[in-house]
């Protein structure tokens, strides 16, 4: 039992933490009615996901897999690295997530711009109130 816990929880604590934060972010995105809080939830979700991926490339960690490079070394220089006995962290997840951060920043920027426009138009960023106002426009015949 203890071994099972160690194998599945303690050795992979980084994935559990990341997953926990991902769930928090996703829940906020879905449950919250305030557009800004939704966006904050989305950012938490994306950032926690980056944390998860970056921890995939940890030095010497035997991750999840039954296939592939068990001790993480850079895929391009791994012959030279093995000769000298060096172990590097796998740089690929880091590089991917560098791009991912850029994408997430762009998404946040676009979303914030739309939130500002919504606030200018409706005077609120609560989803319920906005839908109410839209219903009112519809009743008055202004689509």
């Amino acid at each position: 039992m203890m071994e099972w816990i160690v194998q599945h929880f303690l050795e992979k604590y980084n994935f559990w933490i990341a997953m926990f934060i991902i769930i928090i972010g996703l829940t906020a995105t879905i449950v919250k009615k305030n557009f800004l809080k939704k966006l904050i939830g989305l950012s938490i979700f994306q950032t926690a996901f980056f944390l998860w991926v970056v921890s995939l490339g940890d030095v010497g960690r035997d991750i999840l897999t039954s296939w592939g490079l068990k001790t993480q070394t850079p895929p391009i220089l791994w012959m030279q690295a093995a000769e000298k006995g060096y172990i590097y962290a796998n740089p690929l997840p880091h590089v991917l997530m560098l791009t991912g951060i850029v994408v997430s920043a762009a998404t946040t920027a676009v979303a914030l711009a739309i939130v500002i426009r919504i606030y200018q138009k409706y005077g609120t960023i609560e989803e319920d109130e906005i839908i109410e106002k839209e219903m009112e426009f519809e009743r008055r015949g202004v689509l």
């Binding site: 996703l26 995105t29 557009f35 939704k38 966006l39 989305l42 979700f45 994306q46 996901f49 998860w52 991926v53 995939l56 991750i63 999840l64 897999t65 039954s66 296939w67 592939g68 490079l69 895929p75 391009i76 690929l92 997840p93 991917l96 791009t99 991912g100 994408v103 762009a106 998404t107 676009v110 979303a111 711009a113 739309i114 939130v115 426009r117 919504i118 138009k121 409706y122 989803e127 906005i130 839908i131 839209e134 426009f137 008055r140 015949g141 202004v142 689509l143």
Partner: protein, 525 residues
């Protein structure tokens, strides 16, 4: 290396470069970006025809970015499927651009025109990129470029488009994030991101939980983007309130390219062996598709707003394509149906959304109940609408008929008889909701304003100043439509008929056989 092998990367790179050049050129002259974009897209169409020709005669193009070997470098792979989709996307973008010229002048403030065309070109670049890439992560980047520009393009109209645009940002980001999440699961199991490389490595780890998780996440993520039935909730509002050009482009090509991601991963990365490895997975996909077809059609019947009806109709039509994919492990005709319907739906739905935009521009009408006598006022647009609607319903000798026949053959071939019934019922439901519109246009007598709801929707022009609505809302030009808007509509409508005849002949069979062999189906038609 042959010159033609550089063409895919030229198309993608040049359209990115072009987008930013257009932004600068807009400072010199506001009208310049449109003509630059149009000219360059014609050039891309020219190149992509060479690419298709090369692929059909010499085999797939493999282009290594910067000369790095594939498992490490980024590879662009163009086989028959990509080349076919690339031509569809470029042609629809060209027609959409021609249509957008006068439509945008009507719907969007003048100071936004330069950025609007820049964003359209950037979205096109993202779509071309998804189409030609052979790398999972590179596909994510193009996916985000195509999506981010789409968010902005929807919100450009302002007014009622803002809330749907925001919902789409949230849903689309979750979808894209799930996609890249799944890709990272697969990376953790195989250590590669290249399609071809991963296809070789995956059979060793089919039972690995990371691979199963990755598959599930990618499928759900892409399903959000391609609004497959239970995940379509962001879509009807977006298509109803976005600028007409944008909703016609999104309904016709944006969603097809999103679905292409799923197609490519099914056939070239996981392969059908993976689907067959989990018994019943293909039938689950088929039933989801059947639910999408029926639910989309039934909701479409309930709608009174024309564009919202078309949006729900799109949900149902995406179900057709998914049904083809689900049937393909049992019968190659399923894939033929899916591939044919990608083109047929792009042509038909593009035409329908353009008609909806044209009707709104000339007469200021959105509600189907106000369409009485429209057939006399706008004869060309209504004729095109009728032809495209017939294609959606599946009347013989229109494009939609061919794909429906292929799908029915596939379900018979796979002895999955319930889906034949689903397809036939859906045809009847399509007839119900499209006939309602055609009936109003041509046959209904004007009954006056005795219906209070009709009276209310006739009024909006008077109370317009009272509400903070966007510049386009409730306005109408009242003038006859310019040729540049009618020509693309008529071109797409005539394509519906031409394709309907072509699909029934032998002309597309070399293309279809190439697609089947490139997607590793051991069958020919």
């Amino acid at each position: 290396m042959l010159l033609v092998e550089h063409f895919p990367v030229i198309i993608v790179g040049l359209s990115m470069f072009l987008a930013y050049t257009m932004l600068l050129a807009g400072y010199i002259n506001r009208r310049l970006p449109f003509f630059m974009s149009l000219a360059m897209n014609f050039f891309f169409l020219f190149l992509s025809i060479f690419v298709l020709n090369h692929v059909l005669t010499e085999g797939p193009i493999r282009y290594w970015q910067g000369g790095w070997r594939p498992p490490w470098g980024i590879e662009y792979v163009v086989d028959a499927m990509n080349a076919y989709l690339l031509i569809i996307v470029i042609s629809i973008v060209i027609l959409g651009l021609i249509y957008s010229k006068r439509n945008v002048e009507f719907e969007i403030e003048e100071r936004k025109h330069v950025t609007f065309y820049t964003l359209i070109q950037l979205m096109a670049a993202g779509l071309y990129g998804i189409t030609v890439t052979g790398d999972l992560f590179n596909m994510f980047i193009w996916l985000e470029i195509a999506s981010l520009t789409a968010y902005a393009l929807i919100a450009v109209a302002g007014g009622r488009a803002l809330r749907p645009a925001y919902n789409y940002v949230i849903m689309g980001s979750i979808g894209a994030c799930l996609y890249i999440f799944g890709v990272c699961w697969l990376y953790s199991a195989t250590g590669t991101l290249n399609f071809a490389d991963m296809r070789l490595l995956l059979p060793l780890v089919y039972d690995n939980k990371a691979v199963q998780m990755g598959f599930a996440m990618i499928v759900v993520g892409v399903m959000i983007k391609a609004y497959i039935f239970p995940l379509h909730l962001w879509q009807p509002d977006v298509y109803t309130y976005a600028p007409s050009t944008v909703s016609s482009m999104m309904a016709s090509v944006h969603v097809k390219v999103m679905f292409y991601i799923l197609l490519r991963l099914f056939y070239s990365v996981f392969t059908l062996d993976f689907i067959r490895h989990y018994i019943g997975l293909d039938l689950v996909i088929c039933w989801v598709a059947a639910a999408a077809i029926l639910a989309g059609s039934i909701w479409a019947i309930k709608q009174r707003n024309l564009r919202r009806m078309l949006a729900y109709s799109s949900v149902s039509q995406m179900g057709y394509i998914l049904l083809g994919v689900g049937l393909s492990p049992l019968s190659p005709w399923g894939l033929v149906g899916a591939v044919a319907h990608i083109l047929n739906h792009a042509v038909g739905k593009g035409c329908l959304f353009m008609c909806a935009g044209a009707i709104r521009q000339q007469e200021g009408l959105r509600d189907i109940r106000d369409f009485e006598g429209l057939g006399k006022k706008m004869p060309h647009v209504c004729a095109a609408f009728t032809i495209a609607a017939f294609s959606m319903i599946g009347i013989p000798f229109t494009a939609g008929f061919a794909s429906k026949v292929f799908l029915i053959i596939a379900s018979l071939d796979a002895s999955q008889y319930p889906f034949v019934a689903v397809l036939l019922i859906s045809g009847l439901l399509n007839l119900v909701y499209f006939w309602r519109v055609i009936d109003r246009m041509y046959f209904a007598r004007h009954r006056g304003a005795d219906d209070p709801a009709e009276a209310a929707s006739d009024a909006p022009a008077t109370v317009q100043e009272a509400a903070p609505s966007g510049p386009s809302n409730s306005a109408k030009s009242g003038r006859p439509l310019p040729l540049s808007m009618i020509a693309p509509i008529l071109a797409l409508a005539s394509l519906c008929i031409i394709l309907g005849v072509i699909w029934l002949t032998d002309i597309p069979s070399p293309l279809i056989n190439h697609i089947l062999s490139n997607l590793r189906m051991e069958a020919t038609i």
